[in-house]
Amino acid sequence: MKLKYFLSGALLAIVLFLAACSGNGEEEVEAESQGEEESGEVEKDDKNLVIAQASDLVTMDPQDSLSTTGDRFFRNLNNRLFKRNPDMEIVPDLVESSENIDEETWRFKLIEGVKFHNGEDLTAEDVKFSLERVMTDDSLKEYPYFTQLKEVNVIDDYELEVVTDGPMPTIQHVLAKSGSGILPKDYVEEVGMEGFMEQPIGSGPYKFVEWKIDDKVVMERNEDYFGDEPTWDTVTIRAINEGSTRVGELLTGGVDLITDVAPNEWDRVENNEGTSLVSGESTRVMLLMNRMTEGTITADPKVREAIDLAIDQQAIVDSVLQGSGVPVRSRVPEGVHGSDPDLYDAYVHDPERAKELLEEAGYGDGFELTLTSPKGRYPMDGQVAELIAVMLGEVGIDVNLELLESGTFIEKYSNKDNEELIMIGLADGLLDASYSLVHYSIDRAAGQTDYNNEEIDQLFKEASRNLDKEERVEQFKQIQQTVAEERPHTFLYQSKVNYGVSDAIDFQPRLDENIIFDDVSVK
């Protein structure tokens, strides 16, 4: 008997549950269709921005984060001495004026009246505390960028001096990075870094509300922000790893802006009424690293030239990437300080000449080499590698294609186990050519490409300490020209990044892939 009651009770429960769910649904659908009839297009009727990105933050410590996903949060929570405007120019953020006293000393005057979210004033002491933390604690991920800073001296409440170890042309670049996010000294000393991570405080336009790991970070407007009034009441950064789910949320209006839309989802986003695909440039350049170690087949400059001539970069971009890339002949794309416009949106392709070169090099009958590529690390990476293998095959190079899972791949790369060719995408976290071109210095290339050019090495060292902006750019250009000729790397293309955006908002992608909430507006 008891069982019968149980069964009928359960049945009733299901019926009620389903009824409740479908009831809800009908209302929603109705509301949706009504909205469309009236306006004909989507509109945003609240001031709550929801962004979904492909992975969650892993820390609330701005100085221990090197990821773009993290910086999208930190940039809106914290202020730094400098920031980048949408054109990637470095402009003052907390700094009122700056002065270069001598080659190694910089004096900064801070804006007065900036307050942290707990109401305390942001002073030179906080700046000193924050910079010294990242300069000295080598367990922090941002630490490697700050090793050239020597000391920070407070002059008065709103004035301080930063001393570098030798001339540092990239000081402003570094002071605009997330490692330079200014932390509230008193608060951190009071609650400790652990306490800070639970309730992070900055001075930026948005305040921290809550973080549910692998779900979302919620922020709300800072009414007392010293700059322009913040645009949004709340901003939610959701983490949605699965690409099709992210697109699903955009299509249903659950989120306003999604990052990293894969090529197979472009049509869904583009064809849907009320959403569009927005494509932006990134600093990431896909390239083949050529091993130039003696005894390797790719040590022969003619072979490397032949490889470059055999590959049709434009065809890769047009076919596999459906236009989501720009062919390049340098690792420093346009927009990054020190780039060479002659090597941007440029490529060389001449399979006949490639065959001749191989003939001259004594490989007329063809030869075999290994190309290692990740699969699933960058958009369409496996397909690009397959296409390259075919292109090389056409000039008589028999490619042994090795496609690896992302983790295995990066291990092979970082252990310098790369064989003749390895395909990788390298970004530039500093937006300065020095960041990319260090790869061609002898120390850095050792074991990986084994590129060894004393002249380039010397030139790079000079440029790294050169405070003369124009001369420095010329030095960088010269390095890039030589590299394009000597080919320790065979450049493929600059990757574009694709966002799915609700038509109700206005969003312009940035080269650094950051999202400044107040640069996003309601249409």
């Binding site: 008997m1 069982l3 019968k4 069964l7 359960a10 299901i14 769910c21 479908s22 809800n24 649904g25 929603e28 659908v29 949706e32 992975s55 892993v58 820390t59 410590d61 221990d64 090197l66 990821s67 080598d138 367990s139 991920k141 490697p144 549910k212 790991i213 692998d214 779900d215 979302k216 959701r238 983490a239 949605i240 790893n241 699965e242 099709s244 789910t245 699903g248 949320e249 299509l251 249903t252 659950g254 992302s406 983790g407 295995t408 990066i410 291990e411 790369y413 970082s414 252990n415 310098k416 995408g425 390298l426 970004a427 530039d428 976290g429 960041y435 990319s436 260090v438 850095r444 074991g447």
Partner: protein
Amino acid sequence: MKKYITKRLLEIIPVLFIITFVVFVLMYHAGDPVAMMLPDEASQEDRENMREALGLNDPFIVQYGNFLKDISTGNFGESIRYNTQALPLVIERLPASFELAGVAMLVAILISIPLGIWSANKRNTVTDLFITGGSVLGKAMPNFWLGIMLILILAVNVQIFPVSGRGTLVHLVLPAITLGTSIAAEMTRLVRSSMLDTLGQDYIRTASSKGVPYFKVVVSHAFRNTLIPVITITTLQLSIVVSGSIITESVFQWPGLGLLLVQAVNARDMAVVQAAVFIIAILVIVVNLITDLIYVLIDPRIKYS
């Protein structure tokens, strides 16, 4: 009885020991977490510093020894991804996973038991064919595919349910159906065959011939005796719940243990993987123990000594 339970509880220790060893060896050989933590552009020196700081340069036996010493005090080490203790990270995720697994299991039971009984009673009819055929289909649909399809149909095309995330009861529906379907498919077949066994027994025929109504025969005589195998089956499904929740949670961005585990594996975050596997192992063992104890309550013939 007390002795039996104590014995079973003590058995957990060697099992856990073996599990920690297997997991440690697998993760040790799975690769270098440092490569994942730093961007592609990082230099060899940066990597080396980080490896040293994390104690990854110690020999295998030292690392394993340190690991055992630590976990005996409940310290699974720090997650290299989150820089916090691994065990609390895992435990924080349990409510979300329990919620999903519980509702999915409920969905599975509510679908499979009536269908299993029904198809056993209609053996070799069209209804039976549909139900068994349907369960094959349910089993054959991969979890991630079903999840994506449900999102597409019931969340995007017809906007009834939210696409992803956790919050209200409505958020639970699609993930629970996704996870529940494959369990229900398997259970339906097992309930059916177990029911068929019971229906062939003498006492069922006796009951029928005595003139007891058929519905009553099935529900109160046959079904009660089918319960033991059904409970066994239900617990056996636990492994499907665990593996299924990893996929389901990823598709629906359900912030549970499965999602944490899959991300930890991808990032080679050993401490979190170990803590998660450890907790899952304990859960499976405990549920099995509870099942054995439930037998006693249902079937007075079973006694442990």
